[in-house]
């Protein structure tokens, strides 16, 4: 498990237990349970409409769950108004107050807490320096670039030292380069202040980059929770493996299962042996899932004994700079894509149309029962 951020002494956890939310006939959130540890940065990841924003808004108190419990720092907050929850939130559109200057925006939360003028000025100056906005204090939000607005929103949300920081796709409006820069900044800032943070995104790369743990959601449910490497390396379903990163999926049928190892026949008639979970039974239709970077092309003889080997024909190779993708026809109408790095010492790809052998460590080949 990846190292968690250093929690500050007053960081609190957030717990959701069997939380549900309906919008009329639409069930936006179904039985979501989450335990977010103090100081942790967790992202809610999933496709559009899966209930990420709704879940975040329930933590903020802007929506009320129809069932279940929400606790912040152990205290039940279901009936607590948002302004009493001591949270900070960054909205997707930033929601900076247009009639206030940057400094007034950042000062707003402190003013609502009735802090003194001097304390407010000092804290605002510190927060603005933290997000490198000090020279822009007197500007209006309308006079800022997208990245600067994002920083103001962040400064405004953290200056009150909230127990929980909530961010709803705060980087979606930024271009790729700025987004990557802000990801690093948010992560650094979050570590510095040690606030428990919940981050909504539908960008899997962003989730992998930023999170201590990722909560993958689908249709209002949590389908997997784990560290970035856990959800990437050990997805628990086809949905998760497809949603996070690029993946190969090959159809197969289970011929036998013994001692946690399944023998699976692929379309071409080749059989391979893979570790299998308990829900895999003989005669079952399955998907074999493997990441392209876990597939070796023509592994050296010495490395082959421990590998699952699949024979195929190289159809074409796509060079993308750092890596090359090899599309290999493995028979039965199925293609496996292997990714090889283009570092020094790598032989050029085999000639197109030549037979190749693909090698995969058995533990890197995942088997999922196929529905229907």
């Amino acid at each position: 498990m990846a190292a968690s951020s250093q929690p500050s002494s007053d960081a609190v956890g957030v717990d959701l237990r069997a939380v549900r939310k309906w919008y009329g006939p639409v069930q936006a959130v179904r039985d979501v349970s989450l335990a977010i540890r103090p100081g942790e940065i967790v992202s809610l990841l999933g496709p559009s409409g899966c209930g990420k924003t709704t879940t975040l808004r329930m933590i903020a108190g802007l929506e009320h769950p129809d069932a279940g419990e929400i606790r912040i720092g152990g205290a039940l907050v279901n009936a607590v108004a948002p302004w009493k929850r001591n949270i900070g939130m960054v909205f997707q559109n930033y929601a900076l107050f247009p009639h206030m200057s940057v400094a007034e925006n950042v000062a707003f939360g402190l003013a609502m807490r009735r802090e003194g003028r001097a304390a407010i000025d000092a804290k605002v100056a510190a927060a603005m320096a933290q997000v490198r906005l000090a020279p822009l204090a007197d500007r209006r939000p309308s006079q800022l670039s997208g990245g600067q607005r994002q920083r103001v929103a962040l400064a405004r949300a953290i200056v009150t030292r909230p127990s929980v920081l909530l961010l709803d796709e705060p980087l979606a409006a930024l271009d790729r380069k700025l987004r990557e820069q802000m990801q690093v900044e948010i992560k650094q800032l979050q570590r510095e202040v040690g606030i428990t943070t919940v981050f909504v995104t539908h960008d899997q790369e962003e989730a992998l980059t930023l999170s201590d743990r990722i909560v993958v959601m689908e249709e209002g449910r949590v389908v997997q929770t784990g560290t970035p490497s856990e959800v990437y390396e050990r997805p628990r379903s086809r949905f998760v493996s497809d949603f996070i990163g690029f993946t190969n999926a090959v159809r197969g049928r289970v011929e036998a299962v013994e001692a946690g190892t399944a023998t699976v026949a692929m379309g071409s008639g080749q059989t391979i042996r893979v570790p299998a979970e308990a829900d895999i039974a003989p005669a079952q239709a399955v998907d074999l899932v493997v990441r392209p970077e876990k597939v070796e092309v023509d592994p050296p003889e010495a490395a082959r004994p421990g590998r699952t080997l699949i024979a195929g024909t190289l159809r074409h190779s796509v060079y993308t700079g750092a890596v090359t993708y090899h599309h290999v026809d493995i028979g039965g109408g199925e293609t496996l894509i292997a990714m090889t790095p283009n570092g020094d010492g790598h032989a050029g790809p085999p000639a197109l149309g030549s037979p190749v052998t693909l090698g995969v460590r058995p533990e890197n080949m995942l088997v999922f029962a196929r529905a229907g």
Binding site: G61, A81, N86, M89, M112, R140, L166
Partner: protein
């Protein structure tokens, strides 16, 4: 600086025709209003144009007649009270209409707007009938409440339009920063509503001050609005006194509009 001057471009004939056309329309709209100004300074006893001499006697005639001053005072008081009540009611109603869904919302909003399209005379008769048993006929408060009915739609309409434009995430952001409902309204929503509300309030003040039909049914001795006082005066005397009053109103209205424009303009720059 010469380099900042816009490039000189020959004006095409079609644009000159357009300018002349627009100028004519402006003249047509403004002429009847502007003609009262020279008349007000006329030395003639009758309303002849162009005036044969210049005098301020009609302005002093206004001062000489206390009924005009008290009517002005009453009209101004009614306009301010009616607008103030409409503002509070209109903003609260707009929040309900825009931010909350409830059964019959659209029908109710339409009902609030009906005074805009209803024949004023129907409203006048109805209000007179309602106010008689309530003892509000020929009273300041009867008049002020009747004017609330007339001015509310203007405030409500601008408030609903402005509030619809204000994303609800602003108030929500205020809530997450520790502002309760009142603080979020007071410090975030209201300042963002201000330009729209000022426009609505200006409209409401003018509508009320100018109102004739409904007021006619509700005024009486001692409770007389300026338009009705002017009408009464004209029944007996047609001299430039009315032009003088109109000129004063014209100047006051222009000042009010300039001040509001300045306030709203400044508000945009400094958030005031």
């Amino acid at each position: 600086m010469a380099d900042l001057a816009p490039p000189v471009r020959p004006v095409p004939a079609s644009e000159r025709w357009l300018a002349a056309y627009v100028g004519l329309i402006v003249l047509f709209l403004a002429l009847p209003v502007l003609i009262v100004v020279p008349l007000a300074f006329s030395s003639d006893v009758s309303l002849t144009f162009p005036p044969r001499g210049v005098s301020l006697r009609w302005f002093s005639n206004i001062w000489a007649r206390p009924e005009f001053l008290s009517a002005f005072g009453l009209s101004a008081a009614v306009a301010v009270v009616a607008t103030a009540i409409s503002m509070v009611a209109g903003v609260l109603a707009a929040i309900a209409f825009v931010r909350h869904a409830f059964p019959g919302r659209d029908a109710l909003l339409m009902l609030f707007m009906t005074p805009l399209v209803f024949p004023a005379i129907v409203l006048a008769a109805a209000l007179a009938l309602v106010m008689t048993p309530l003892g509000l006929l020929r009273s300041f408060w009867g008049l002020a409440l009747a004017h609330v009915v007339l001015t509310l739609p203007y405030i409500l309409r601008t408030a609903v339009a402005t509030l619809t434009e204000i994303d609800r995430s602003y108030a929500e952001a205020a809530h997450t920063l520790g502002a309760d409902r009142w603080q979020a309204f007071r410090h975030v929503t209201l300042p963002m509503l201000r330009p729209g509300l000022l426009a609505g309030a200006t409209f409401a003040l003018i509508i009320s001050f100018d109102e004739f039909t409904v007021s006619m049914f509700l005024v009486g001795p001692g409770v007389m609005t300026l338009p009705l006082e002017m009408y009464n005066y004209s029944e007996f005397t047609l001299d430039p006194t009315l032009a003088a009053i109109s000129t004063v109103l014209l100047v006051l209205t222009s000042i009010a509009i300039l001040v509001i424009e300045k306030l709203v303009g400044l508000g945009k720059q400094f958030g005031g």
